[in-house]
């Protein structure tokens, strides 16, 4: 983030123009990439930490090694996994 503000100051008018082009062309793609990345993150936590939801996974010993890195995501992941779903999910 800090890098971005810096480049804006530096780029001036050109920077603004670049941002506009970015917004028109690739913002949507970036958003898609980031969202896919986020759901993969949740899938990853599921296959490594499934035990947290009572889904047995293999093997708990090594998955504990990964636990510190996903600790901040655990609650949002649980919310997503345990959320009730209906037909509007498909539309959204």
């Amino acid at each position: 983030m800090a890098d971005q503000t810096k480049s804006k100051k530096k780029g001036g008018l050109l920077g603004v123009f670049k941002d506009i082009v970015y917004g028109m062309s690739s913002h949507e793609m970036t958003r898609h990439a980031v969202r896919t990345r986020a759901s993969m993150e949740h899938l990853f936590i599921l296959v490594t930490m499934g035990d947290l939801l009572g889904i047995p996974i293999l093997p708990p010993y090594y998955s504990l090694r990964l636990l510190p890195y996903v600790t901040p995501q655990i609650s949002s992941w649980k919310r997503r996994m345990l959320r009730e779903r209906d037909v509007t999910d498909v539309l959204g």
Partner: protein, 325 residues
């Protein structure tokens, strides 16, 4: 080929395992072999992965959970304390979480998970597996002698390396795919570098450890696996089955050791019928063993007149087992 010739002709086989059903004398034979190798000037580590390890009993001193304990010159023995290892490991994970996020205490649900994970039945085996990796990757010894747990466990242990390997490959692949999405997003936002994925490095670390261990276990050049049998019907049947199963896991089988052979001179005197029957039965089973494992039998070990415990007894057995060619 005798046991001595096997060791002398294949000096690269530094990882030696003894397997077989419980109570057949795996610990005795591994301790005896370790003792003999040490007496030949090799640095030997004899270690047990059995939660009910009996190295302490055979050497008649408490070595449980004390790391490698020197027994005689060149010989160290070690019994892994899995429970303590799990506790230390849990504390390490908790500390890492506290350090990484500057928490005062580990969030409750995370802490509960850490505690619950150690109640998993696979946890102890995994901890032992990891402890063995620690032992063998350090590589300070000329010989590593595994006093293996009974057959079922041994198979489980060997298959675990394969299961781990597949699991870790799958999640590493997933992690790498995630990395690509990071890269795409970063490129489109014109960021030059993306943060290093620490989970990926952690996965690679785990992968290296598992590979190191399974490579050694299945490497014919470096590993020798011996089956211990006794001349009894059930044991012979089980050993045949186990031999086939082990072959599936590419375990390099180096031969069979027939333990508890009643001395044949016993049958010559005027002996009770019971003993005469036992000896006749043994003859029959020895013939069966010859037929089934014949050329692969490395030694016939006589039933000693008393239990093999304590160094003098181990030394005596070693002299008989490794008598000159």
């Amino acid at each position: 080929m005798s046991l001595r010739t096997v060791f002398e002709s294949q000096p690269d086989r530094r990882y030696i395992m003894f397997g077989g059903k419980g109570g057949l004398g795996k610990t005795t034979l591994s301790a005896t072999s370790a003792f003999w190798l040490a007496s030949q000037g090799k640095r030997v580590l004899l270690f047990s992965v059995d939660p009910q390890a009996s190295l302490s009993d055979i050497f008649q001193r408490d070595i449980f959970g004390k790391g490698p304990v020197p027994i005689v010159q060149n010989l160290w023995a070690q019994e892994v304390d899995a429970d303590r290892r799990i506790k230390e490991y849990q504390d390490e994970i908790r500390k890492k979480i506290l350090d990484m996020y500057g928490f005062d205490k580990v969030p409750e649900e995370i802490d509960n998970y850490i505690a619950a994970a150690s109640a998993e039945p696979a946890m102890e085996e995994s901890a032992i597996f990891d402890a063995v990796v620690d032992i063998i990757v350090q590589g300070d010894y000329d010989y590593y002698i595994y006093d293996l747990v009974p057959l079922g466990h041994a198979l489980y242990y060997l298959s675990m390396a394969k299961v781990y390997d597949e699991w870790i490959n799958k999640i590493t692949k997933l992690r790498e795919d995630m990395r690509q999405y990071d890269q795409v997003a970063a490129t489109m936002r014109r960021q030059e570098t993306i943060e290093e994925d620490r989970i990926l490095s952690e996965l690679n670390y785990i992968k290296d450890r598992i590979n190191a261990s399974s490579q050694i276990l299945t490497d014919k050049k470096r590993t020798a696996f011996f089956f211990v049998v006794v001349p009894e019907e059930m044991i012979i049947l089980d050993t045949k089955k186990a031999g086939a199963l082990f072959a599936k896991f590419d375990v390099p089988l180096s031969g069979y050791i027939v333990n508890r052979v009643l001395p044949p001179e016993l049958g010559r005197g005027n002996i009770p019928l019971y003993l005469r029957n036992r000896i006749a039965l043994q003859e029959k089973y020895l013939a069966e063993i010859k037929e089934a494992f014949g050329a692969d039998v490395r030694a016939y070990v006589p039933e000693m007149e008393r239990d093999v415990t304590g160094l003098p007894m181990i030394e005596r057995l070693a002299e008989r087992l490794f008598a000159g060619p």
